[in-house]
């Protein structure tokens, strides 16, 4: 699971959960792989993200690097900054671990890089 995906996932599928966001990451294995940088994509996807959640997730995994805690202005024309965002969005990956619902503590496992957001039959 990439941090881009983490930024978009919630546990609002659970009964009684209002926002279920952000999910807390408990990482057992983290992998960093190389992914080609696409400036256009990163600057297009950035406004759709919750920056604070991304920063905290990156920090928790120990990959925040020089990423500032508040989103800078005019990032569209700052390839150096966008490259750092690209790194945490697409290159840092949780291979095994858990995602925890902030409201109920329900845990969702991540195995082989794939989060399992299925509920149990008694939860639906």
């Amino acid at each position: 699971m990439k941090l881009l995906t983490h930024n978009m996932l919630s546990s609002k599928c659970l009964k009684g959960v209002v926002t279920g966001y952000p999910l807390t990451i408990i990482a057992k294995d983290v992998k960093v792989s190389e992914v080609d940088f696409n400036q256009e994509f990163v600057s297009r996807v950035l406004p759709k993200l919750d920056w604070n959640v991304l920063w905290k997730a990156a920090e928790r995994l120990g990959h925040v690097g020089e990423l500032p805690q508040t989103l800078i202005e005019n990032y569209e024309n700052d390839p150096e900054f966008l490259k750092k965002v690209h790194h945490v969005l697409l290159e840092v990956e949780v291979i095994n671990g858990e995602l925890v619902c902030p409201e109920t503590g329900r845990k969702f496992p991540i195995t082989s890089g794939i989060p399992n957001m299925l509920l149990n039959d008694d939860e639906v």
Partner: protein, 465 residues
């Protein structure tokens, strides 16, 4: 510029396949590249369409995406008889054609004959009638600098051939469509496929209908083996998928290919498919999730949703749930690994959930492209899911059997819905589709059996002495 003006007529030559999909595909491409096209003839099931385009680059862009089109030519002449075609070509000012006739430019003439056959000798004979063209270059059959196309159209009824072609066209080849991609992305050579993987041609058409562009974020909520995402990623989109089938996403279902049974399974995952086509940089993630209970946060915005839902015929349609309820409550045993039980996911409910999801998560201007199973005797276009925020752009049919087909629906989100509208949205289409399908199939089977029986009795009564 004036010289170019007379050259803005083009002929699109189509493959004789998925005829019903042509217009929707070409229109989506025209919108994608904001090309202003003027049809010289209303697009029809004929294998060619005539169009006016502002410039050659537009023709190249159409060809860069279309998979239903074989090639596009700059039209030099079009007539209802060979004589008229020659007259038209001869009257063309030389200044406009000389640039393609120069000595250093090799060339070839390709003769296309639709609805009739021709021998190689006849081809050469036809080509020779154009000997008045001032072509100075050498003939080169493989990769020439310039290709000319002579097209004869003999109509759509091979059993009712006219004495001469209805139309003849001559022009210069501008570009080939993307038919080669169909083979390049073919399921036959793909590492990971499932029972119902969409073939490459239809996947590419779907990506075109969705107006997928580089840098888009595209999602498939019934991703399966990821065949639709392959096409989207190939066109530059970043792709994300979800599926209820844990084993499928982890590549632990039945092997893709039977003959590899004795070998260990390697490289079978959606990510490996992306790698195979060098799209791995645009693979975001796949998530195990129930489409009835999407786990995405409300503010997620998608550029396109492309999907093929399981109808419960070839692939089971499932959602999490249980039929075992005790004392009004369903209890799952604690402290042991529990695999959630699944119940049937009715098609109308599935459609409804997909539409609610699209209303919430598509950007304005974004598209939903999805298939709808159809029982021909039961199809009513008025029953299709409709919402004032989702505009039905196209509806193309692919026949599957004598009594079924599937339709590719393309919706464009035209505005944001009010919150209460999403919750109140309902779909009636496809209720109990699976039951209806089997009931109908059984009925047909019974009828056929009865017919066979009756025929046999007739035969027997005839053969009696």
């Amino acid at each position: 510029m004036n010289a170019l003006k007379t050259f803005n007529r083009y002929l699109l030559w189509f493959a004789n396949e998925h005829v019903d999909f042509r217009l929707a595909e070409i229109q989506a491409i025209l919108e994608l590249y904001k090309i202003k096209a003027k049809w010289l003839e209303k697009p029809s099931p004929k294998p060619y369409w005539l169009v006016e385009l502002p410039n050659e680059n537009d023709a190249i862009q159409i060809a860069s995406r279309s998979v239903t089109m074989r090639y596009i030519i700059e039209l030099w002449g079009g007539a209802t008889s060979m004589e008229d075609l020659h007259t038209e070509l001869k009257s063309m000012p030389e200044s406009k054609i000389l640039q393609y006739c120069e000595e250093h430019l090799s060339f070839k003439v390709k003769v296309e004959c639709y609805g009739n056959s021709q021998t190689a000798a006849e081809k050469v004979e036809k080509i020779d009638t154009f000997n008045y063209l001032p072509l100075k270059g050498k003939v080169k059959l493989k990769n020439p600098d310039v290709t000319f196309n002579l097209i004869e159209y003999w109509g759509m009824e091979p059993n009712n051939l006219p004495s001469k072609p209805y139309n003849v066209f001559f022009g210069r080849l501008i570009a080939h469509g993307q038919r080669d991609l169909i083979t390049e992305l073919s399921l036959k050579t793909r590492k990971f496929i499932g029972n119902t993987s969409m073939n490459s041609q239809l996947s590419l058409i779907m990506a075109n209908q969705a107006k997928v562009q580089p840098g888009d974020l595209v999602f498939d909520p019934f991703v399966g083996s990821g065949s639709l995402l392959v096409a989207a990623a190939y066109y530059g989109a970043y792709v994300l998928g979800s599926d209820i089938d844990y084993l499928m996403l982890h590549g632990k279902t039945k092997q893709s290919r039977k003959q590899t049974r004795d070998k260990p399974r390697v490289d079978e995952s959606i990510f490996e498919n992306m790698k195979q086509y060098k799209c791995q940089n645009r693979y975001v993630d796949v998530v195990v999730a129930d489409a009835a209970l999407p786990p995405w946060r409300s503010s997620l915005v998608l550029d396109a949703i492309i999907t093929d839902m399981p109808y419960g015929i070839r692939e089971s349609a499932e959602t999490i749930g249980s039929t075992k309820i005790q004392d009004g409550k369903h209890v799952v045993p604690e402290n042991e690994i529990h695999i959630p039980s699944k119940i049937e996911y009715d098609f109308s409910k599935m459609l409804e959930d997909l539409f609610k999801f699209s209303l919430t998560h598509l950007k304005v201007g974004g598209r939903l492209v999805t298939w709808l199973p159809v029982l021909l005797c039961d199809y009513d276009p008025n029953e299709l899911p409709m919402h004032r925020c989702l505009n039905l752009v196209s509806n193309c049919e692919q026949k599957l059997s004598t009594f079924t087909s599937r339709r590719l629906l393309t919706y464009e989100k035209i505005k944001e819905p009010e919150l209460h509208e999403v919750g109140a949205f309902t779909v009636s289409y496809g209720a109990a589709f699976r039951e209806k399908f089997y009931r109908h199939a059984q009925k047909l089977q019974k009828e056929r059996a009865e017919n066979r029986h009756n025929n046999r009795e007739i035969v027997l009564s005839l053969s009696e002495p």
